[in-house]
């Protein structure tokens, strides 16, 4: 078992450098190793885990792992019931999270999650140079140079898995005086205090829930009303776990939710006075508080990447990326982990995929690494041939049991090429948005999708040679098993014209 004190990857020249040792960096490194692509992994942290070394503060994770789930842990589809383990090909390295849970909750605690990632590193033998902080970046011809606290790293491809964990506070006057979510102290220090929380998303509600029995009064303030996941029928919005403050507010127990913009925060004695304008009508009001916490989110700590041309967008300052998580403006720069949420994909009905969470990001990392291997290092994964008669069954099998498709609905798909000269080839998992818009070889892809009613059904995309793909939705099925005669018939007739050409 490698000791934490050994420091692999001294500064120098590597084909790839991965920055970060959270889930994104670790998953990326695992697959680079599998493909035999030499790379360095550097991390500013002293140990693995990324943001899970600190967050969430109070509660358990929002992502489930069911130790006693509907399918056994060695079943491929178990990954749909385990959102916290990283992927691996070896049985002993898969599904590590449930081993560390006692079954009393389907949601791991933060320490359990951190241990999960550390165990993955130990078992897979992943190496990371800890305590090496990325400080700056420049280009040197067609290579990148990463300046770090230990010296310079030169590489052909740089993969940044640095998370979206840099605290952000608005530049509204007075915010410089107040604590950010990351500075939250132990709950007992808020006993009897009037607490004002700027924000109404998950982090704000996590704090409100955790401090509910300590604070004398809690005011949550942001311009728009809280969006609750139980109302959006999705994972969008404040999760059910954090509804307690909402109920408290309804009952008039000391929680208040203000829909207002904060104009300024002034010190008032040992506390604060917050001046706001109501969103409805614009009336101004002042709220006094002993403690103010800015649960105003995070941005992506991309340091000086803008200086080498990486373009960014949005309030989290995510990089603009291609469908393979490559910088849209600087080829050779890639991103892994939660940053991948900046690739929107199809976003049908406005529903995002799970790229911001481990259970989506882990598949994105694998797909991204395969792409990097092909594009930059001529390492091509084999595409197994498929018997034409088996194609329909394979597609329906994927729709029913592929964890990639279930975890990343409308985002990742299983693709089969239908070129007459080669026969049917299994292309594996592809980003759906790339598949449907690429005018390439004839192919068919299947994804699992949901709509605004919550209906879950397969979606088939057929691409004829040189034309963008055409969508056909298949029916849903009450037990989510799409391997029915009806589905076979629907899919067979859909493919009859297209596959005829590819049949040997």
């Amino acid at each position: 078992m490698p000791e934490r004190t050994d420091r692999p990857f001294p500064p120098g020249d590597y084909p790839v450098v991965v920055v970060g040792s959270g889930p994104g960096g670790l998953q990326t490194s695992y697959y680079l190793d599998r493909l035999g692509i030499d790379h360095a992994v550097i991390s500013a942290d002293p140990s693995p885990g990324g943001m899970f070394r600190h967050f969430p503060f109070f509660q358990r994770l929002l992502s489930w792992t069911k130790p006693y789930g509907p399918v056994p842990r060695d079943d491929r589809f178990y990954e749909w019931y385990d959102w916290n383990s990283l992927l691996a090909e070896e049985p002993e390295n898969k599904a590590i999270m449930p081993e560390l849970m006692d079954g009393s909750s389907s949601f791991p605690s933060r320490p359990e999650m951190e241990r999960n990632l550390a165990t993955y590193v130990e078992r897979t033998g992943l190496r990371v140079r800890y305590g090496c902080t990325w400080e700056g970046t420049r280009r040197d011809g067609d290579r990148f140079v990463l300046q770090t606290s230990d010296g310079e790293y030169h590489c052909q491809v740089a993969i940044f898995a640095v998370g979206v964990a840099q605290p952000f506070k608005p530049d509204t006057p007075g915010f410089e005086h107040v604590a950010h979510y990351v500075d939250t102290r132990t709950p007992d220090t808020y006993a009897g205090k009037r607490l004002f929380i700027a924000g109404k998303e998950n982090s704000a509600f996590e704090l409100a829930t955790g401090l509910l029995q300590w604070a004398q009064r809690i005011v949550l303030c942001s311009p728009r009303p809280a969006k609750l996941s139980v109302n959006t029928h999705s994972l969008l919005g404040v999760r059910a776990r954090y509804i307690q403050p909402v109920e408290d507010r309804i009952l008039g127990g000391g929680v208040f939710m203000l829909d207002a913009s904060i104009n300024r925060i002034d010190r008032l004695g040992s506390g604060f006075r917050i001046l706001c304008s109501r969103s409805e009508g614009g009336a101004e009001l002042a709220v006094d508080a002993d403690e103010v916490i800015a649960a105003t989110g995070f941005v992506c700590p991309l340091r000086d990447l803008a200086d080498i041309g990486v373009s960014m967008f949005g309030r989290s300052q995510l990089p603009s990326m291609t469908n393979y998580w490559e910088s849209a403006t600087v080829p050779g720069v890639y991103f892994a982990g939660t940053i991948g949420q900046g690739v929107s994909g199809m976003k049908k009905y406005g529903l995002p995929a799970n790229s911001g969470a481990v259970h989506g990001a882990r598949y994105n990392a694998r797909t991204m690494v395969y792409h990097v291997a092909r594009k930059h290092f001529n390492v091509d994964l084999p595409m197994p041939a498929v018997e034409p008669a088996r194609l329909v069954d394979m597609l329906l099998e994927e729709a029913t049991r592929a964890p990639e498709l279930w975890n990343q609905k409308s985002y990742l798909a299983r693709s089969f090429l239908l070129d007459p000269s080669t026969g049917i080839l299994d292309e594996g998992i592809v980003p759906l948005a790339d598949f449907v818009d690429t005018e390439g070889l004839a192919a068919v892809a299947i994804a699992v999708e949901t709509d605004d009613t919550g209906d879950i059904h397969p979606a088939v995309y057929v691409r004829e040679q040189g034309r963008p793909a055409v969508e056909t939705l298949l029916s849903s099925q009450s037990l989510h098993d799409f391997r029915t005669a009806e589905h076979r018939a629907q899919l067979s007739s859909l493919l009859s014209g297209v596959t005829a050409g590819a049949a040997k």
Partner: protein, 141 residues
């Protein structure tokens, strides 16, 4: 580069779709919609596909194509997707990025509620659709 929240609101204030909104209302709009970035050559609206969203362009350009024929180009301040959502039908055109595109996105199911919450935006949209009808009629007659 990335717009700060204030810069985003400033940008929205300059778009004709939102021209009649007050600053707090613009902030509400900025919060309800999601900023997204798409690379070149990506379809944002796809002919015949379900699940369309509503998009307002903040920066960049798209081309509107029907069966491969270019029909229009849209830039900053222009919007698209609302016709499909309001009619409950898939798009009849492809909308493809010609440059890197920075947009605000609102999920289809949220559009009607959004328009009801912001009548001035609905009126501006109505005017734009009326103008499209004028142009469509002119082409045909």
């Amino acid at each position: 580069m990335a717009l700060s929240p204030q810069e985003l609101v400033d940008t929205l204030a300059g778009l004709s779709l939102f021209a009649d909104l007050s600053r707090p209302q613009l902030e509400q709009v900025a919060h309800k919609m999601t900023e997204e970035s798409y690379p070149v050559g990506q379809r944002i609206l796809r002919q015949g596909f379900t699940g369309t969203g509503f998009y307002v362009i903040l920066d960049g350009e798209v081309v509107v194509k029907i069966d491969g024929d270019e029909r229009a180009r849209l830039q900053k301040g222009d919007f698209f997707g609302e016709m499909s959502i309001l009619l409950g039908e898939p798009p009849v055109a492809d909308v493809v990025t010609t440059r890197q595109l920075h947009v605000l996105h609102l999920g289809g199911p949220e559009l009607e509620g959004f328009l009801r919450d912001h009548p001035p935006v609905m009126y501006r949209m109505l005017k734009t659709v009326a103008l499209r009808l004028r142009n469509a009629s002119r082409l045909r007659s």
